[in-house]
């Protein structure tokens, strides 16, 4: 404001002012001066508005022009009145908030079924576990169940890390066999370092469910005497549950035939077949050959060494046991001096003297006479000179649900299942009379809880001289008489050795639990096995890709 009054333009108008310091303006009553000053102040004021910092001095002029302040006040009110619609907007949002809350309530309601799904999964896990580990473990705490399940992936992991060892192992085996011929060396193979612990007897072998199973299929057939390699092209091994010997057929190059030619050797030639590390000691019994333009092929066939206990190799004998002996002892006696060991895994009973007798029978036929009397079967160890007597049905089919399976086979490992259902019209047999002959016993064997009125034809055998034998025979007869479905399961042969996660070659008679593609499981008994080692594309060269599969007819009860 001081600037304003200092301005010469203001005070020069009448020319009377001498520029004295003490008289800057005229007295307040001097209107002309005031008017002039205010008129010129207005433009100055507008200029001064831009810098806000100098607004304070202008305020005094604003007071002078009272009217100008009024519109300014209106301006302030306008934004307030516009705030009202804004307020209504806020209210709108609040009113929309309510449906949102309802949505949230619906979401909570949906959480209930989710919870039930979780429970269902637990129940399924428990059921699975129950089936896997058997009745004793059935009622374990769910928490324990988690622990058990968690172990499975851990085991899986181990398998992978083992593979490299296994490869090393088998490689060393091949070297050993070639450099040191001899049957006893082959049997020492199993005790190699780094092998997995064998599965606990009585526990289920659980094959882990994996996306990929890594294995290098291997097939070798060598002549046992000098480890000469036959350069096998392919091979098929078979065992039927009612048999006493493995059979095999293999295609070999014609050049290899001389090594094993049955016609050129007086005794059967022993060969050792190695499939994925599993060894089979076999004899070559016959061959077929084929000559054609551009090539020739030879197929050799044979059986396991247990064939030497039967016709035509073994001598026949006639015999009567005059003293009382257990059935297992009678069977062991029949194999005396053959080098074979008999393992008895079936019910045993005392046979009085002068009951067991046979005429012109080979050792294996004499054993079969005893074994058949109770409906049991023989299993020949593919490697050792061991015959095992097992019941045809180690577990009765009506008790499979609560038994401990030999192995659990996940959907991921089996490659194919062919089902064949039969039994249309067959009655549900529930009883059978089992009889001895002279000096024997007669019993009606019936299913628990039934009257045993629908009977199978009566069976009798001279060795049914004890209730235990009658029971066992009747149990197997009734099991055979049930309606069944045969499922032919094909799966790879996981490389040796057998472990808690690898059943290897599944022995006939094993109770299996198989998981279907939809996750359901069923149980059945393997009634045989067939191991096919085939070259890719039906190739006739030992260098072509190899695949190894085992195929098992699995008997499943049709309910």
């Amino acid at each position: 404001m001081g600037q304003l009054y200092d301005s010469a333009a203001i005070y020069d108008w009448n020319g009377t002012y001498d520029g004295g310091v003490d008289m800057p303006v005229g007295p307040p009553g001097f209107a002309a001066l005031v008017h002039l000053a205010s008129a010129q102040a207005a433009p100055a004021q507008s200029d001064q508005h831009y810098p806000w910092g100098e607004a304070a001095p202008i305020q005094s002029i604003v007071r002078l022009v009272g009217k100008a302040a009024a519109p300014h006040g209106y301006d302030i009110r306008y934004p307030w009145s516009e705030a009202t619609p804004l307020e209504s907007d806020v209210r709108m949002e609040w009113s929309r908030g309510q449906p949102l809350e309802r949505v949230e309530r619906i979401a909570w309601q949906k959480s209930t079924p989710f919870e039930s799904v979780t429970r269902a999964a637990w129940r399924r896990a428990q059921q699975m576990l129950q089936r896997l580990v058997g009745i004793g473990w059935a009622r374990i705490h769910p928490k324990e169940g988690i622990t058990a399940l968690a172990w499975r992936p851990a085991e899986t992991h181990q398998i992978e890390s083992r593979l490299s060892w296994r490869k090393a192992d088998s490689r060393e085996v091949t070297v050993r066999i070639r450099w040191r011929p001899g049957a006893q060396h082959t049997s020492g193979y199993r005790t190699g370092w780094g092998n997995d612990p064998p599965p606990d007897p009585g526990s289920t072998i659980v094959i882990p469910s994996r996306e990929v199973y890594f294995m290098i299929p291997a097939l070798t057939i060598i002549r046992t005497s000098d480890s000469a390699d036959l350069d096998a092209i392919d091979c098929q091994l078979r065992y039927d549950i009612t048999s006493y010997a493995w059979t095999f057929q293999a295609n070999i190059p014609k050049a290899s035939l001389a090594l094993v030619d049955p016609a050129a050797h007086s005794d059967p030639v022993l060969v050792q077949i190695s499939v994925n590390g599993y060894l089979f000691n076999m004899i070559v019994e016959a061959y077929t050959d084929n000559r054609k333009f551009g090539g020739s092929g030879v197929q050799i066939t044979g059986r396991s060494r247990s064939a030497l206990l039967g016709p035509p190799y073994a001598p026949r004998a006639t015999f009567t046991e005059s003293s009382s002996k257990d059935a297992s002892q009678l069977a062991t006696d029949a194999l005396a001096d053959t080098g074979w060991t008999l393992v008895w895994h079936a019910p045993d009973w005392l046979v009085p003297g002068n009951t067991f007798s046979y005429a012109d029978k080979t050792p294996i036929e004499a054993v079969a006479q005893i074994v058949n009397s109770i409906g049991a079967v023989l299993y020949c160890d593919p490697q050792e000179l061991t015959l095992t007597v097992n019941p045809l049905y180690p577990t009765s089919p009506w008790a499979w649900g609560t038994a401990t399976p030999f192995a659990s086979i996940p959907n991921a490992i089996w490659t194919n299942i062919d089902g064949q259902w039969e039994g249309q019209g067959a009655p549900d047999y529930n009883g059978v009379y089992v009889s001895g002959q002279n000096g024997g016993v007669v019993h009606l064997i019936k299913l628990t809880g039934t009257d045993g009125a629908k009977q199978l034809p009566m069976v009798n055998d001279p060795l049914i001289v004890h209730v235990d034998a009658a029971r066992e025979r009747g149990r197997n007869e009734l099991a055979k008489g049930l309606k069944e479905k045969t499922e032919t399961v094909t799966m790879p042969v996981l490389p040796a050795p057998v472990s808690g996660t690898n059943p290897g070659i599944i022995p006939p008679g094993s109770l299996l639990e198989i998981t279907e593609q939809d996750g359901t499981t069923w149980r059945g008994q393997a009634m045989g096995t067939q191991i096919d080692s085939q070259r890719s594309g039906g190739g006739q060269s030992a260098s072509a890709g190899l695949s190894v599969r085992q195929t098992m007819p699995v008997e499943r009860q049709a309910s």
Partner: protein, 75 residues
């Protein structure tokens, strides 16, 4: 046909089952036999009432002695 093939073939034919029964009546040249399950049928041959006999192909083969009937067994 080789002997082996004949044996294989013959092995497929089921043998006539050997049955055990008790003679309940003696007829002219035949006997009426009751099996353990209560069924009765007529077989050729001779015998005495209450004899326990082996029957094969509907013919009495021989008598059975010392056969003891035991209690029913549940499996």
């Amino acid at each position: 046909m080789s002997v082996a093939l004949w044996r294989q073939f013959a092995g497929l034919i089921p043998k006539a089952p050997l049955r055990i029964g008790t003679i309940t009546a003696v007829n002219a040249g035949t006997v009426t036999v009751t099996l353990a399950n209560g069924g009765t049928f007529i077989a050729r041959g001779t015998g005495s009432v209450s004899d326990v006999v082996f029957i094969q192909d509907d013919e009495v083969r021989s008598t059975v002695s010392g056969l003891t009937a035991g209690a029913d067994q549940d499996v």
